[in-house]
């Protein structure tokens, strides 16, 4: 087998780089993470002409090789490291025909690294519409490259691009301009100090330290002294470099590109007269949000019912197939309903991701950032916090990763800290079951379902809590940071179905797999802990038999008594009992205590845990989890456990507490310390306890 060609797709954000990636790889792609960091890594395989294969890596979007974020840094780290197994044989630089001038900046930088580069001019179908014409031959000559005019929308130019990739050895590796002339003396010194090193690479390593401070410079050692420059001098030099590059690009495009402004149509600007208007902009945004929640709750309902029924019958089938006993209970009453409890939310999550993907793809999300910035800043947040806070309604993990483009560290930190208060989908199973227990199902005004209204109330509560927490954090956290806010307003585009579908599929799949794994593991551990115990547990049968004889219990009564006695004295029972004094004031018994302990791994485990606990205790009860919870009583008093007060208290607790190991891990990664995730975990924990306590006292 011949060696695969390593191809890196590089480009500015909003150039349709992902569309080109999808067009090249089709379904042969996988999404993962770069080792050690949570930057998404997309790679795929593309079949080229004459049986050659290419490994395609879709690098994060960046405006230049001067990284200012973790995502952008990935690009530089790769391009500076020839030993990386993904180091590209050829770089495919994706540009957008409408923003060629800006896109070429990055292209000239990549050329300076002497990596063979192909220039893709994407969205070429919009050329006529924008009155643009290009002299491709001239541009190829000036930029010392080969150009592919591509339109992924019209499926044009992709084959030509594949041909160019296959023949990458014919590409020139010469830089297209001499950037070192901005300060010949300095660069001469640099060349003498590090002989044998590529000058532009040295320059990037030096400036990278200024901007980002993460580039590994071990491989480069100076052989002679050279005069270093101060940070501000370097920054000025970078500015000069940028100006120099633009000079070259302007000169090149003056000949190579003609724009007939009379022929150009600008629908985006016209749309923005309304969509970013001081009044209408907000009205449209509010309507879109309402539509989104409508979609999540109403349109996904039929799908959810189908899934619910499917898992209920699966439980029955499994239960019928396996021999009766504890293992049967574990699988049919614990694992299957536990997994079902997550899968049932797939339609809602998919719907939410669908909306977010469409808003991002069309370019509307940037307008939301623009509209909301001033308001959000009052709470110590940024306009860019809106995206994480909305995505947080699906899952806090991608939401926290989405805070990366917030330039101001304080604003970003506050966004990270309050995002887990958004009602993530893992809370839905908990909310749904608790609301169904404490809110009677009626129609308000004969129209609105009371339980749906209660759920909506929980969403409003999430927003109010997030804003409240942000205001407080903004007062407490003292941090002086540079406050940059730059957001590109891309032209509106019709979303590409393929891109949207991939995003929804990928994110939903990741959610189900991650949550599924945790639930499976927790169910098994829980089952083990519930069926094993200390001395009292092993002697349970003797103790209960004595008691049964003394009280003259029937066999059925004896079995029930035995089961609850065993649960109480099992390891998990002991753990629940141990924390009972702490949670008693909130109205919880030790069984709920167990559910709270286990749901520190993930909230959605709450339902599965109660399912497992009640099935271990009472295997004969064939009812649903809900009916078992409804009939649960406190040991001794016989009072109902799930009263309105307990329900409210639990709802508040789950609305606030950070019960998600994955979120803690991601905050640790994104803030690069244990300080913030711990503050967040403890802060939200204390807040949850207090709110639950107050809630319980009011409704008691």
């Amino acid at each position: 087998m011949s060696k695969q060609i390593n191809v890196a797709l590089i480009g500015n954000p909003n150039t349709g780089k992902t569309s080109v990636f999808n067009a090249l790889t089709g379904l042969n792609q996988k999404v993962g993470n770069y080792p050690g960091i949570t930057v998404e890594k997309k790679e795929g395989v593309c079949k080229l002409p004459r049986g050659v294969k290419a490994h395609i890596l879709d690098l994060p979007g960046t405006y230049s090789l001067n990284a200012s974020s973790l995502d952008e840094n990935v690009v530089i780290e790769l391009l500076l490291n020839k030993n990386d197994k993904n180091f590209p044989d050829v770089a495919v630089v994706v540009s957008d025909v409408e923003h060629l001038k800006r896109n070429l900046l990055l292209f000239t930088q990549i050329k300076d690294l002497e990596i063979p580069a192909i220039l893709v001019i994407n969205m070429s179908d919009r050329m006529a519409y924008k009155g643009i014409s290009l002299d491709v031959a001239y541009l190829e000559k000036m930029l010392k490259t080969k150009i592919a005019l591509v339109s992924t929308r019209k499926k044009q130019g992709v084959e030509e691009l594949k041909e160019l990739i296959a023949n990458y050895r014919e590409l020139s590796m010469e830089p297209c301009l001499n950037a070192s002339e901005i300060d010949p003396e300095y660069f001469d010194g640099l060349r003498k100090a590090f002989p044998g090193q590529l000058l532009y690479k040295l320059w990037l390593v030096i400036t990278q330290d200024v901007n980002f401070g993460k580039t590994d410079r071990n491989e480069i050692d100076p052989v002679a002294d050279f005069k270093t420059k101060s940070k501000s001098e370097l920054k000025r030099l970078q500015q000069k470099e940028t100006i120099r590059r633009y000079q070259f690009i302007n000169d090149t495009l003056k000949v190579g590109q003609t724009i007939d402004l009379n022929a150009a149509k600008d629908l985006s600007i016209k749309l923005d007269r309304i969509l970013t208007h001081k009044v209408w902009g907000y009205v449209v945004f509010a309507i879109l949000l309402l539509l989104m929640f409508q979609a999540i709750f109403s349109w996904s309902e039929p799908f959810m019912n189908v899934i619910d029924d499917a898992f209920a019958s699966l439980s029955d089938v499994v239960s019928g197939l396996l021999p009766e006993g504890k293992l049967n209970d574990l699988i049919s009453q614990g694992i299957v309903p536990g997994i079902g409890g997550v899968v049932i939310f797939v339609p809602q999550i998919a719907m939410l991701f669908l909306f977010i993907a469409i808003l991002e793809e069309t370019g509307y999300m940037s307008r939301v950032v623009f509209l909301m910035d001033k308001t959000m800043r009052r709470f110590g947040l940024s306009g860019k916090s809106v995206v994480p806070l909305i995505s947080g309604n699906a899952c806090a993990i991608p939401a926290i990763m989405a805070t990366r483009n917030i330039e101001n560290w304080k604003e970003r930190l506050i966004t990270i800290l309050v995002t887990p208060l958004s009602v993530c989908s893992a809370r839905l199973p908990v909310y749904t079951i608790l609301i169904s227990l404490i809110v009677p199902e009626t129609k308000i005004f004969g129209l609105i379902n009371s339980q749906a209204l209660a759920l909506l109330g929980m969403y409003v509560l999430g927003i109010v809590l997030a804003i409240g927490a942000a205001i407080i954090l903004n007062k407490i956290i003292k941090m002086k940071g540079k406050s940059y806010f730059v957001v590109e307003m891309p032209t509106y585009k019709l979303p590409l179905l393929k891109n949207v579908a991939y995003t929804v599929l990928e994110k939903t799949k990741a959610f189900v797999i991650n949550a599924g794994k945790i639930i499976l593991a927790v169910s098994i551990i829980l089952w083990f802990l519930a069926t094993h115990g200390g001395k009292t547990f092993s002697n349970a049968e003797t103790i209960i038999d004595e008691r049964a004889t003394a009280l003259n219990l029937s066999e059925h009564e004896r079995d029930t008594e035995l089961a609850s006695f065993q649960l109480e004295n099992s390891y998990i029972g002991m753990m629940g009992k141990a924390i009972e004094p702490v949670i008693k004031p909130l109205g919880y018994d030790w069984k709920i205590g167990i559910a709270i302990i286990t749901s520190f791994a993930a909230r959605e485990v709450f339902v599965g845990t109660l399912a497992t606990i009640y099935s271990v205790e009472n295997a004969e009860d064939e009812g649903t989890i809900r009916s078992r919870m409804a009939s649960a009583t406190f040991a001794g008093t016989g009072e109902k456990v799930f009263t309105v007060a307990t329900g409210v208290s639990l709802l508040l607790f789950y609305a606030i507490a950070l019960q998600c190991a994955a979120t803690v891990a991601i905050v640790r990664k994104e803030t690069n310390s244990w300080k913030w995730p711990l503050i967040q975990l403890i802060g939200l924990g204390v807040m949850a306890y207090l709110f639950a306590l107050i809630g319980f006292s009011i409704f008691k």
Partner: protein
């Protein structure tokens, strides 16, 4: 007329004459906010902050606090 970008009004066209590199992120420069390039206001949010601009054909939004560090010359 020499002024800062924060003062620009809709319908006015201006040329950037100077940017204070100490206060302007490199990213903004890379997006085309450089001396010699034209700029116009597309839309202002309430209280004119942030500002939605067209700089050299790139559409972007920046806050007023950044715009005051960009000097422009309004073309009559």
């Amino acid at each position: 007329m020499q002024t800062t970008l924060a003062q620009i009004k809709r319908g006015e066209r201006a040329v950037i004459t100077d940017v204070s590199s100490a206060h302007i992120p490199l990213k903004l420069l890379e997006m085309g906010c450089l001396p010699g390039n034209f700029v116009e206001l597309v839309q202002a949010a309430p209280f004119s902050d942030p500002m939605y601009l067209n700089i050299n054909g790139t559409y972007l939004a920046i806050r007023k606090e950044t715009a005051i560090h960009i000097i422009i010359d309004i073309v009559p």
